[in-house]
């Protein structure tokens, strides 16, 4: 039998096929179908328009109203109510809205709702995050979600894969976020259009689950269908206590075909910053000069996990947010929130003068909890710096890892973490 990539294998399995090739159109079984407060109302309307009476499986349709919750205004409350009524009517076991809600792509891996080997579709473009667990996960629209909620299946075109190999050790302060920003800077925002991005190499094997999730999270920013990392012992460690279902580890065959193979020397990569207004406008932090900021945001499905808050706490400990700068920290889920509280980070953050938000997408998409005014500038650990993404169309968003965002909050301009950490030692 011919060789396949990990992406092809998972798709083949879910399409009931032994073998398939890029370009093939398939109908595949869906393990999890996800929607949020922006996309699910349209999906539910679609669902009802077909006269469907039941979802395909009440344990596999997941609704997470995380974008504008706690409801920011009457209109968003009305949208969320559509989800809640639907969840209640169909007795969905995975509905999160109150004290149990978190940013969907941080929440689902953490709760073990998504497991390795799954085929996941979500009406949210960052559904590709779950590739970090070794699942095939891709963002779709509301109509696709409606179809999947009814039938438990969806059509797919099997993507070609690009292999990205990272060799060598990460420099200090460099994380998965910097690796993915580096890739996007190299190949552009449509550099992997319609394709699967497979991340491998000894650097990737050494990455924490948090860093893997944040790398796969941004595959969509290169136009990719999915990002994926073969599961290993790090994955096993992460999922074994959480998984709510049986999981399966897939890996690419040695002879699998790729449309491209790109090698990186990890040791050459320094912390990255994506300048407005596209994620491929990336520069090394040492090259950008002094860029003053009005706001720093640490959170989101990209970097709102405990590892991210830990590094922020390390930098903020005993320091203060610069005058006239807002630092907003959004723990991505209730568990992360509690863990940060338990570890004493909240004291560090509040002593530093930071604002701690409940788990929500909030400012990441310019929803609420930290909107920028005209002319304001933010550094953010989120994944998009599009025009108007965090507020006024004439505001600016710069993307970075959490260490850079925390250091920048202290300095008042986009700063290398060493600038802050060295000063104290001296």
């Amino acid at each position: 039998m011919s060789s396949m990539t990990i992406t092809e294998k998972i798709l083949a399995k879910h399409a009931g096929k032994k073998y398939l090739e890029p370009g093939e159109l398939i109908n595949a079984r869906v393990d999890i179908a996800l929607g949020n407060d922006i996309t699910a109302p349209i999906a539910i309307k679609g669902f009802e328009s077909t006269g469907a009476k039941k979802v395909f499986n009440r344990n596999r349709v997941v609704l997470v109203p995380d974008h504008f919750t706690p409801n920011k205004d009457i209109k968003s409350a009305m949208q969320v109510k559509i989800l809640r009524d639907f969840a209640r009517k169909h007795r969905l076991s995975h509905y999160y809205e109150g004290g149990d809600v978190g940013v969907e792509h941080a929440l689902l891996p953490e709760l073990g709702v998504v497991v390795p080997g799954d085929l996941v579709i979500g009406a949210d473009s960052h559904t590709c995050t779950y590739g970090g667990l070794g699942a095939f996960a891709t963002g779709v629209g509301s109509t696709d979600l409606a179809a999947a909620m009814i039938t438990g299946e969806l059509w797919f075109k099997v993507p070609q894969s690009i292999k990205f190999i990272f060799h060598g050790k990460l420099r200090k302060w460099v994380t998965g976020k910097d690796l993915i920003l580096h890739i996007i800077g190299e190949i552009g925002v449509d550099g992997a259009l319609y394709k699967a991005m497979e991340f491998t190499g000894d650097t990737i094997t050494g990455l924490t689950m948090e860093s893997r999730l944040s790398m796969c999270n941004m595959a969509i920013e290169a136009g990719a269908k999915n990002g994926i990392i073969a599961p290993d012992s790090v994955t096993e460690q992460y999922v074994k206590t959480r998984a709510e279902r049986k999981y399966k580890f897939y890996e690419s065959d040695a002879g699998a075909k790729y449309s491209e193979i790109i090698d990186f020397d990890t040791s050459k990569i320094e912390p990255k910053v994506a300048l407005p207004s596209l994620p491929d406008n990336t520069k090394n932090i040492s090259e950008i000069g002094r860029i003053s900021i009005d706001q720093s945001v640490i959170g989101s499905c990209t970097n709102g996990r405990i590892e991210d808050l830990a590094v922020a706490a390390r930098i903020l400990k005993g320091r203060k947010v610069a005058p006239y700068v807002r630092l907003i920290i959004l723990p991505a889920t209730p568990l992360i929130y509690k863990e940060a509280l338990r570890r004493g980070y909240f004291k560090v953050f509040t002593d530093a003068g930071a604002i701690i938000s409940p788990p929500t997408c909030g400012p990441c998409l310019g929803g609420h909890m930290g909107i920028l005014a005209e002319g304001e500038r933010a550094i953010s650990t989120t994944n998009r710096n599009f025009v108007g993404r965090m507020g006024h169309p004439k505001s600016e968003v710069y993307l970075s890892n959490p260490a850079v965002a925390a250091a920048s909050a202290v300095k008042g301009y986009i700063a290398h973490p060493d600038e802050v950490m060295k000063k104290k030692a001296a």
């Binding site: 922006i38 077909t50 205004d73 009406a123 473009s125 963002g139 779709v140 629209g141 039938t151 998409l365």
Partner: protein, 164 residues
């Protein structure tokens, strides 16, 4: 399917936040979304677009989020068809699923100007620029997706299957 209208010409990487900013996503009402269509790229668009007009973009149109509000806003604004050198994956899928005609053409963007009158013949895979009299080819739509369009979108095709 044939469309004719004035071209609204834009560049590459027009993302979904420019097509419909997230600050308006607390509703899914098409008419309301249409009043903010393209707002962060072109403040004049929603005010001046006429029924039948055509959006003509360069590469990677619709990149970014999965919000179906983007093709919904475009469709509700009266736009008959979007032509681009290439489309972002989810936008492409969404457009077919909800019935916004889109065509890929490698040449139309470079060889046309803002305001030119364009005519698109989806069946023949042809685009004519009636202003400068040039003709361009459009990439053929895969048979599977033609079927989707014919049956009126994804949900209608599912309904049919269920009944059939």
């Amino acid at each position: 399917m044939k469309f004719r209208g004035r071209a609204w010409r834009y560049g590459s990487d027009i993302d979904t936040d420019r097509i419909i900013p997230a600050r308006y996503l607390n509703t899914s009402d098409p008419a309301e979304l249409a009043t903010h269509c393209m707002e962060d790229e072109d403040g004049e668009f929603a005010k001046k677009v006429k029924k039948g007009d055509i959006i003509l973009a360069a590469r990677n149109f619709g990149c970014g989020s999965s919000r179906e509000h983007a093709p919904i806003a475009i469709k509700a604004s009266g736009v008959s068809c979007v032509i681009a050198e290439s489309f972002a994956r989810i936008f492409f899928r969404n457009s077919f699923n909800m019935g916004l005609p889109i065509v890929e053409s490698p040449e139309a963007h470079a060889a046309s100007r803002d305001g030119d009158i364009l005519e698109v013949d989806m069946n023949k895979g042809l685009i004519r620029n009636l202003t400068n009299k040039k003709t361009f080819s459009a990439r053929p739509v895969p048979p599977f997706m033609q079927e989707l369009l014919k049956s009126g979108g994804l949900l209608k095709s599912i309904q049919k299957k269920k009944r059939g």
